[in-house]
């Protein structure tokens, strides 16, 4: 069958074709659509699909499943692999039962991420194979191959798509889902399942012994292919291989091309390729993984070859590549003219108003921040976290953002470091359940005097509205046990726990004031559904409008920053984006904003 598929959906279909029985993950752009696609159809395929509470948990669930002989896959974004690194590293020693694939999606250019980390390094670090797809078709094909390689070597195999593969669409050839007929069972085998030092030492040796076989097998994969056309060549990985192939076609140049799609990098193929060249350009996104390897192999096989790449400045070391960057690097190498994108006059560009992503009209986070600033003042310290609410950075209530769950812990450290001003750490419900619990426990245990605000909108909003334990249902829409954030916080040791609705500003401000005045560790839960999930659930609130007779033009509502409020001449005006949260009406000093009857 040929279908026009999103890269992540092609991956999901590959997982079904491989007959995996368990798929787990934690949402993170650009990886989320894999589980999003599989969850609603899990039942009909008789498989278990879950949004786990974090990536470490997801990884361990997939490992357990693999140890019953069932094939499993786990999905996350690159930084999620940091969270899951602990089980991941030791799994390489213990090995898998059924094939297990770790999908870690990288985000060059940080489209939706806090860093540009290269997951290929992690695969190298753990000494497991890594497959690096260039497009949705390769992504689907590599998933199938990854399962069989995993079983062949008894190791987890990583598949590493990037944003431009996960969120690309293409006509993709896919097959039908398969149902595997193995009878799952956990076999007791302590030397291979219990990572005691006495077991780990021989397992480490075994892992090293496997490497030669892995390299020899991967060298034969069709994703590592060389085309010889002259003494000047290019070595390119993943999507950069497609950019290079397109540039060669467009330039109609006689250039040799070696594409690398698997890691460990095939040493022999690289050496054979280098031997026949005078000059080579290494094209890859993110780290110079291949380039460093090429430099090493060149020393043995062809010390005279001239190597261009990131170190020579031919390929940028940060951000993502595109076909033009690669084309120009290639043209520069063979002395052809560079092509320039049409330049707009600088004046034309100065008239462009920036359009950064913003909190939605009526987003409860905006109201919660407004109340927070009223209660704490702008001089307080606001350690923040990762979610939609980080977009509130313009409101003066986002002072730090490091990694998932770090708001509470960084806030505690700021207190212990000697900061005397009030501290209000902010994180969302999904992030709190992901990795804020331990931070809160630690803050209570070690006596951090601070407030923690949990902005609870009952969903993982930023990544596309995935459910979590606080939502009350699973990825597959099964009801889950009710959970009270307040009870959790109390039992972790918070001295005062208060809940308020950010749409009711007065009570929200009151809750923050009480928390601020509490002498120890206080928690405020700001509870209101995400407007998008509310809209999807059928909630409709009447819109609001400004009475232009009463509006004095003070712009207080404009400064609040809701995208539905505009300034029109000398009065405010509310546009069609209004979702009816009613908060602007509460801050207008003239009482000029009213519900449209």
């Amino acid at each position: 069958m040929r279908e026009y598929l999103l890269g992540n959906v092609a991956i999901a279909k590959g997982i079904l074709e491989a007959g995996a029985g368990v798929v787990s993950g934690y949402p993170g752009t650009p990886s989320s659509e894999i589980v999003d696609y599989l969850a609603p159809i899990a039942k009909e395929h008789g498989i278990h699909v879950e949004w786990s509470v974090n990536e470490k948990v997801a990884m361990e669930v997939a490992i357990g499943a693999s140890w019953t002989g069932t094939r499993s896959a786990v999905t996350m974004k690159h930084v999620g692999l940091n969270v899951a690194a602990d089980p991941f590293m030791t799994l390489a020693y213990l090995g898998v039962g059924g094939g297990m694939v770790v999908i870690s999606a990288d985000d060059p250019y940080c489209h939706s991420s806090q860093n540009e980390q290269d997951s290929r390094r992690y695969a190298q670090f753990a000494r497991i194979p890594c497959l690096d797809p260039a497009d949705p078709q390769e992504a689907r094909d590599m998933i199938l191959r990854a399962f069989s390689l995993s079983e062949k070597f008894g190791l987890p195999v990583m598949v590493r798509p990037t944003t431009r593969v996960s969120h690309a669409r293409a006509d993709v050839e896919v097959g039908l889902p398969t149902k595997r007929v193995d009878s799952p069972k956990f076999f007791k085998n302590p030397p291979r399942r219990v990572a005691l030092p006495v077991h780990a030492r021989p397992l480490h040796a075994e892992l090293l012994e496997k490497q030669a076989g892995i390299e020899a097998t991967l060298a034969e994969e069709l994703w590592n292919r060389a085309e010889m056309r002259g003494e000047v060549g290019i070595i390119a990985s993943g999507i950069a291989g497609l950019y290079a192939a397109e540039a060669i076609a467009e330039l109609e140049a006689d250039l040799s091309l070696l594409r690398i799609g698997t890691y460990p990098i095939p040493r022999r193929s690289v050496g054979d390729f280098l031997e026949r060249l005078d000059m080579v350009l290494v094209v890859e996104e993110m780290d110079a993984v291949i380039e460093e390897f090429v430099e090493m192999v060149a020393k043995e096989r062809n010390p005279d070859v001239k190597i261009l790449g990131k170190r020579s400045g031919s390929i940028p070391g940060v951000g993502e590549l595109d076909p033009l960057i690669v084309r120009n690097a290639i043209a520069g190498m063979i002395d052809l003219p560079r092509k320039m994108a049409p330049k707009m006059s600088p004046e034309a560009l100065t008239i462009l108003p920036p359009r950064p992503p913003t909190l939605c009209p009526g987003c409860s986070h905006r109201a919660a921040y407004y109340a927070m600033r009223k209660a704490f003042g702008k001089d307080a310290v606001f350690p923040n976290d990762i979610g939609c609410y980080t977009m509130g950075v313009g409101m003066g209530t986002v002072d730090t953002c490091l990694c998932m769950g770090a708001s509470i812990t960084v806030g505690s450290g700021i207190r212990f470091g000697g900061e005397e001003r009030p501290i209000c750490a902010v994180l969302g419900d999904s992030t709190f359940l992901h990795s804020g619990l331990t931070g809160l426990l630690n803050a209570a245990y070690n006596g951090a005097r601070m407030t923690v605000a949990i902005l609870d909108n009952s969903i993982t909003a930023m990544t596309g509205h995935q459910p979590h334990p606080g939502t009350g249902r699973t990825a597959c829409c099964e009801l889950s046990p009710p959970l009270s954030l307040e009870d959790i916080c109390r039992s972790l040791g918070a001295g005062s726990v208060d809940t308020a609705d950010p749409y009711d500003l007065e009570s929200m401000i009151g809750a923050f004031e009480r928390a601020r005045d509490h002498p120890g560790l206080s928690v405020v839960v700001a509870k209101q559904a995400c407007v998008i999930s509310a809209m999807r659930a059928g909630v409709r609130r009447p819109r609001l409008a400004v009475d232009s007779e009463k509006c004095g033009g003070c712009k207080i509502c404009i400064k609040f920053g809701c995208p539905a409020i505009e300034f029109d001449g000398n009065v405010a005006k509310i546009n069609a984006l209004c979702s009816g949260c009613g908060v602007c009406a509460q801050i207008c000093p003239e009482k000029a904003i009213e519900v449209v009857k």
């Binding site: 690309a168 109609e252 076909p323 320039m340 994108a341 049409p342 034309a348 008239i351 920036p354």
Partner: protein, 195 residues
């Protein structure tokens, strides 16, 4: 050598239905037996930020279009047309919805929104043809402002190497049946607008 039959860059604001255009074109291209590539914006920028999708019909390389080489820039919003104008080839065509969506930087008074002429003039300087149209108005005329994306698709249709009938059947397969009539009308109005 050309490496794609038709390269279209679709730009707009998160929430304007840019992804639907790519889905319909992709489907239509497959029906026509052409290979097709696309890439879209997901994640953070979807929250009211500026978004860009690439669509390449008759292409078997990557989904990314080189700056300076798009045959068509399909802009759902005027300043977004200018923001991504460097993707156009000198022979390219810009189809621009003239109805602004105010960015937060404008509504909060940090920046101002340029006039439509200030936007179109530099565009005219870098490509062969600029066609502004009130696509949102036409969509309203068709029955729903939500169909603005399909008006734009109608305007784009003559530039695609795909028969109109094929695009229309891809449209019918993609949009919910109850909105099909509105969407067909929107498509027609967009097509007529640029004729």
């Amino acid at each position: 050598m050309r490496t794609s039959e038709c390269d279209v860059v679709v730009v707009g604001v998160g929430g304007q239905g840019v992804i639907l255009i790519s889905e319909i074109i992709g489907r239509a291209a497959m029906m026509a037996g052409l290979s097709v590539r696309g890439v879209e914006t997901h994640g953070m920028a979807q929250r009211g930020g500026s978004v860009i999708n690439h669509i390449r019909v008759g292409c078997s390389f990557s989904a990314m279009i080189s700056p300076g080489s798009a045959d068509v820039l399909l802009a759902m919003e005027p300043v977004e047309a200018l923001r991504y104008a460097h993707y156009l080839s000198p022979q390219g065509v810009a189809l621009v919805n003239s109805r602004p969506v105010m960015p937060i930087t404008v509504t909060t008074g940090m920046a101002s929104y340029p006039s439509i002429e200030e936007i179109l003039a530099p565009l005219r300087g870098i490509c062969s043809q600029v066609k502004p149209m009130d696509a949102t108005g036409l969509a309203e005329e068709a029955g729903s402002p939500q169909a603005t994306n399909v008006v734009m698709l109608g305007a784009l249709s003559e530039h695609l190497p795909i028969e109109e009938a094929t695009i229309l059947s891809a449209l019918s397969e993609t949009v919910p049946a109850r909105f099909l009539e509105i969407n067909k009308k929107a498509f027609e109005l967009g097509k007529i607008e640029v004729e």
